[in-house]
């Protein structure tokens, strides 16, 4: 209990005199010579691509002499990287690039150290929005999420996440989860018909939809997909949260890739980081390069991002019981 209190104290920070003088020093020294952007996945994936794309632009905006280094820290379901930034000095030299839902599901499942709280992070903003899609085999009888209401389904996934557990709870679906090593294994399993349904981000499943191998039966945003999203035109009119009557689930399906700073990062640093992020995502060259690589830029500020994380965490907490049941936690 004492340890928890101390940790929380470290986290929220800004109260005591000591912290105030430290903050002042960090503010003066910002930006440091080297900023490390920690990616919780191995090199080569989507997160890595984003980080390596952002690094040179951040360097340019932050000014001469600043190096932004990408560090891949896979492991622990993203928690190795998360913990390393959570515990870092809040001087802006160590930042985390993540989808907060990853951390939220770990926290709900109890897979975090005592005293950890995702909402302690200082979220400086988001660079992209990742709509989620439920999909089935191209020749499947299932054509809408409504077809599986009250039914038993085999759900293929990499890891059981709150999003599925909550959706199935709301729709009265009885899922049998079948876990796989990687997203490609999941897609293959759907194709073979070994599982009935799966969920992935639109960006990762779009090529398979385009090739006619799988079909999307619903996308989990509130309205039709934004125009800059892949296959926005083709997927116009398929089910979404609103048509399914699942509006209240919006917060957990609001997937964003965000840059988070350690708890207690002073406003002076957080503000500069937010400005950097917004300037970068508005930069035409950045957007063009991202589009070339199939990445959709959608820059959002600190306030909105923090709000999204908070409401997502609150909603997931409401469903703690079904989530933990799905995970087999007593």
């Amino acid at each position: 209990m004492i340890a928890t209190g101390a940790l929380a104290g470290c986290g929220s920070g800004a109260g005591s005199d000591n912290d105030a003088s430290a903050n002042e020093k960090w503010c003066e020294q910002f930006p440091p010579d080297e900023i490390t952007l920690v990616v919780p996945f191995p090199p080569g994936g989507g997160y890595d691509a984003w980080a390596r794309l952002m690094a040179p632009f951040m360097e340019e905006i932050l000014g001469e002499g600043v190096t932004v280094k990408v560090q891949n820290m896979p492991g622990g379901g993203g928690m190795s990287a998360t913990n390393s930034v959570y515990a870092a000095k809040p001087d802006g030299s160590r930042l985390l690039f993540i989808e907060p839902g990853e951390i939220i599901s770990n926290q709900i499942a109890g897979n975090v150290v005592d005293g950890f709280d995702v909402t302690d992070f200082v979220f400086t903003g988001g660079v992209t929005i990742d709509p989620q899609v439920f999909f089935v085999a191209a020749d499947s009888d299932i054509n809408s999420m409504n077809d599986i209401r009250g039914e038993e389904v085999k759900m293929g996934t990499q890891q059981i996440k709150p999003q599925e557990a909550i959706t199935f709870e709301e729709m009265g679906v009885e899922p049998q989860y079948i876990l796989h090593e990687g997203t490609s294994d999941v897609v293959l399993a759907v194709r073979r018909g070994d599982v009935d349904i799966s969920r992935l981000s639109l960006a990762s499943v779009a090529p398979y939809i385009e090739a006619g191998e799988v079909k999307a039966i619903s996308q989990m945003t509130m309205e039709d997909l934004a125009e800059n999203q892949p296959l926005a035109a083709e997927l116009k009119g398929i089910d979404n949260l609103a048509t399914l009557g699942l509006e209240k689930l919006n917060p957990v399906f609001d997937y964003r890739r965000v840059i988070a700073a350690p708890p207690g990062t002073p406003a002076c640093i957080a503000d500069t980081l937010e400005e950097t992020l917004l300037e970068m995502t508005a930069d035409e060259e950045f957007v063009a390069k991202a589009n070339e690589a199939g990445l959709v830029v959608d820059g959002r500020g600190s306030e909105e991002t923090t709000e999204v994380v908070k409401s997502s965490f609150e909603l997931a907490s409401e469903y703690e019981k079904p989530i933990r049941e799905a995970l087999g936690i007593k």
Binding site: P42, P43, G44, G45, G46, D48, A49, R52, K69, Q71, N72, M73, P74, G75, G76, G77, M79, S80, N83, A109, N111, K154, Q158, Q159, I160, Q176, Y177, I178, L179, H180, E181, G182, S184, D185, V187, L188, A189, R191, R192, D194, V195, A206, P207, Y208, E210, A211, E213, E292, A293, G294, A326, L327, G328, I329
Partner: protein, 716 residues
């Protein structure tokens, strides 16, 4: 098709692309040689450089670096007993024994030739089945994965026929380690003892590095002997000429002799290649299974199967042809579905996306030009790499005779730094060290490290596909209801039958028991040995820990682990007891042995056995005793430079020093730790001269710094 190929050839020849090809191949080889770094790492590291290039050139460059990776890994496997990546794990079984006999160059030659041919066959098969690609990939589902991984596991029964029960124990250790991490039922962490480090399980590569290289180094430094013990040449008495001890056919020595021996085993290469290609096609199986399977089938079909594990070049040929053929196979799912067959392919797809080439199934339709450049670059890289390898191999036989005082610390530094760079996790380094000591103990007391290695590599797949099969199909009946898995199940039964027959035959003929790990020892002894007590106690304790956690965990996630851990705990408890009370254990075992001997008495057979050969017409007990004496003899000759006490002291010193290196590396970073530790070792422990110590340290650090910090941009 042909116009595309001609276009691709044009791309490959256009200046300065041949230069990129050479640079890529060289880089890929170096990455491959470094323990712990795989082809996927090579691609990942080069992606930023490739951004400056046209997409087609970038593909050429990346493939040039990816394709020859197995060549590099093979060199490390043979020379230092370390699989550079799990794919090369089976190469060490015979490759390293060959190096020990001073025939490293031949092993490298044979491996190179079979890699080139295997790789080529893989691509030819790829082009042949490309039209059927989707059907082939879709034919494999969970039951097939399960059957396939069980076939892989059953190979343990074939390759460890020294002590069946000890083999099973080692298998148990491997499986239990494989079960650590996220469970395949709910995806929650299990057996992690609260450590975030264990969430994703224990990384295979540090374990393999420790088990094989670490153990080897410990033994070498302890005994003060060089890698290669035997001299393959001898002076013939009368004319004073140097003659080889064994004919070329049985024991090739030079690189070219190795190459020629590959061509003499055409059937073997062909079988290995077909096997490798098929295994590559199936996403999720991984290349390491291909190597194990090829090794087992080679041993089964060889006329000299009793020499496997003791430096039979056939073992190297089979594994390496399968290993490189799988590259062709793994392109199939990548191209047909945009679904990567290996990690390397996954990283490649990522790189393509970054170049604006959507890596989905549309690749084959919209970017066929790039596909052909990709395939052709891989082939050409496999043809270019042998020249570099040949250049290196010229020194390979000499390398084996280096003094251990200099050789062992250098390799240890390279191995530990390599382990660290897998994911910049210092705990990986400690894992490698721990498995180094464990591997040494296993080697000494006759527990098969190969069994552990196979079980560790396949354990996750076995459990996952078992759970998947049950969840998707309700029962295991489906395994004999689906044609492909039925065939696999039949193969599995066949292997098990053959293994049983082989064990009986070996017992009946009183042939020398065949443990892959050299210096193995048979359990006929009355002495109480502290090492044995420690090892068996550790194995037993580990089982108890896992069992305790499994009971607490309960439910489906504990099901398969319980199935393994309960018999494991019983067996290791018995071994632990036997180690504590050796006399009593022997008294119990004696009647059983005599019974076995009476059942299996038969006429002996004359056989040519290269190293440590033994022709026996003895009863099994006598045979076992003779074997023990022989094993002790080997250990004595191995350690003849020093007394037992000295050896123990030297090993303790080496162990402590490596621990210090790891600790220093963790605190100060390896850039600082390596020079301090290396110089300290050379000057204080090895007692080299100031001159030698300074030169070797400076040279090593300059090499490591250039490679890791300057070229690769790593922060050590």
């Amino acid at each position: 098709m042909f116009e595309h190929i001609i276009d691709a050839v044009g791309t490959l020849l256009a200046w300065p692309n041949p230069l990129w090809m050479l640079a890529g191949v060289l880089f890929g080889l170096i990455i491959g040689i470094l323990p712990g770094m795989a082809g996927s790492v090579a691609i990942a590291l080069l992606i930023p450089i490739s951004f400056t290039m046209e997409p087609t050139v970038a593909v050429l460059f990346l493939m040039a670096a990816y394709s020859p990776n197995g060549f590099g890994g093979m060199i490390t496997s043979i020379l230092v007993n370390t699989p550079g990546a799990p794919e090369n794990a089976a190469t060490i079984f015979d490759g390293h024994p060959m190096a020990k006999q001073g025939r490293a160059a031949a092993a490298i030659g044979a491996a190179t030739a079979s890699s080139v041919i295997g790789g080529f066959i893989g691509f030819v098969l790829l082009l042949a089945v490309l039209p059927l690609a989707q059907k082939v990939v879709l034919a494999f589902s969970y039951p097939e994965f399960l059957a396939m991984s069980l076939v892989g596991l059953s190979i343990i029964a074939l390759v460890t026929d020294n002590s069946f029960v000890k083999g099973l124990t080692a298998t148990g250790v491997g499986l239990l380690i494989a079960f650590i991490g996220l469970d395949p039922v709910t995806g929650q962490p299990r057996f992690t003892f609260g450590e975030a480090y264990l969430w994703d399980g224990i990384d295979i590569v540090p374990v393999l590095i420790g088990l094989f290289a670490g153990a080897e180094l410990l033994a070498l430094f302890g005994s003060g002997s060089s890698v290669s013990e035997a001299d393959m040449y001898e002076l013939t008495g009368e004319d004073g000429k140097i003659k080889r001890k064994y004919p070329v056919l049985e024991a090739p020595i030079t690189f070219m002799e190795g190459v020629r021996s590959t061509f003499r085993h055409w059937g073997l290469v062909l079988r290995g290649s077909v096997l490798g290609t098929i295994m590559g096609v199936i996403p999720g199986i991984g290349g390491s299974t291909a190597g194990f399977l090829a090794y087992a089938q080679a041993k089964q079909t060889s006329k000299r199967s009793h020499e496997f594990g003791k430096g039979n070049v056939e073992g190297v040929i089979a594994v390496e042809s399968a290993n490189d053929a799988k590259d062709g196979g793994s392109l199939l799912p990548t191209l047909a579905f945009g679904i990567p067959g290996t990690v390397g392919m996954a990283v490649l797809l990522g790189a393509l996306i970054m170049h604006g080439i959507p890596a989905g199934p549309g690749l084959l339709v919209e970017h066929i030009d790039i596909v052909y450049v990709l395939i052709l670059s891989m082939i050409v890289a496999k043809l270019v790499a042998p020249f570099f390898v040949w250049f290196l191999a010229r020194y390979a036989n000499q390398l084996g005779t280096l003094r251990p005082e200099i050789f062992t610390p250098l390799i240890l530094v390279a191995v530990l730094v390599g382990t660290y760079t897998i994911r910049f996790e210092i705990l990986d380094v400690y894992v490698a060290l721990f498995f180094g000591y464990l591997g040494y103990a296993m080697r000494r007391y006759g527990y098969s490290r190969i069994a552990l290695c196979i079980a560790l590599v396949l354990g996750g797949l076995v459990e996952r596909s078992y759970v998947q099969t049950l969840s998707a199909f309700g029962s295991l009946d489906v395994m004999i209801e689906r044609p492909v898995s039925l065939v696999l199940v039949l193969i599995l039964l066949m292997i098990l039958l053959v293994a049983v027959r082989q064990n009986f035959k070996a017992a009946a003929e009183g042939a020398a028991p065949m443990d892959m790990d050299s210096g193995a020892e048979i359990g006929v002894t009355h002495r109480r040995q502290w090492g044995r007590i420690l090892l068996t106690g550790l194995l037993f304790g580990f089982g108890l820990l896992i069992m305790n956690d499994a009971i607490k965990l309960g439910g489906q996630a504990a099901q398969v682990p319980m199935l393994v851990v309960v018999p494991y705990v019983v067996v290791t408890a018995l071994y632990f007891l036997a180690a504590l009370l050796p006399k009593m254990a022997d008294a119990v075992a004696q009647p059983i042995r005599q019974l076995a001997a009476r059942v299996s008495r038969k006429k002996p057979k004359e056989e040519l056995v290269l190293v440590g050969g033994h022709h026996g017409g003895l009863s099994m007990v006598e045979e076992a005793r003779a074997e023990l004496e022989r094993a002790e003899e080997i250990e004595e000759t191995e350690e003849s430079k020093h007394t037992d006490r000295e050896v123990l002291f030297r090993q303790g010193l080496f162990g402590l020093w490596s621990l210090a290196l790891a600790a220093l590396g963790g605190v100060l970073g390896f850039t600082i730790a390596v020079p301090i530790a290396l110089f300290g070792f050379l000057r204080l422990i090895a007692r080299e001269s100031w001159m030698v110590s300074i030169c070797v340290t400076a040279g090593t650090c300059a090499f490591l710094y250039t490679l890791f910090t300057v070229l690769l941009g790593f922060d050590l």
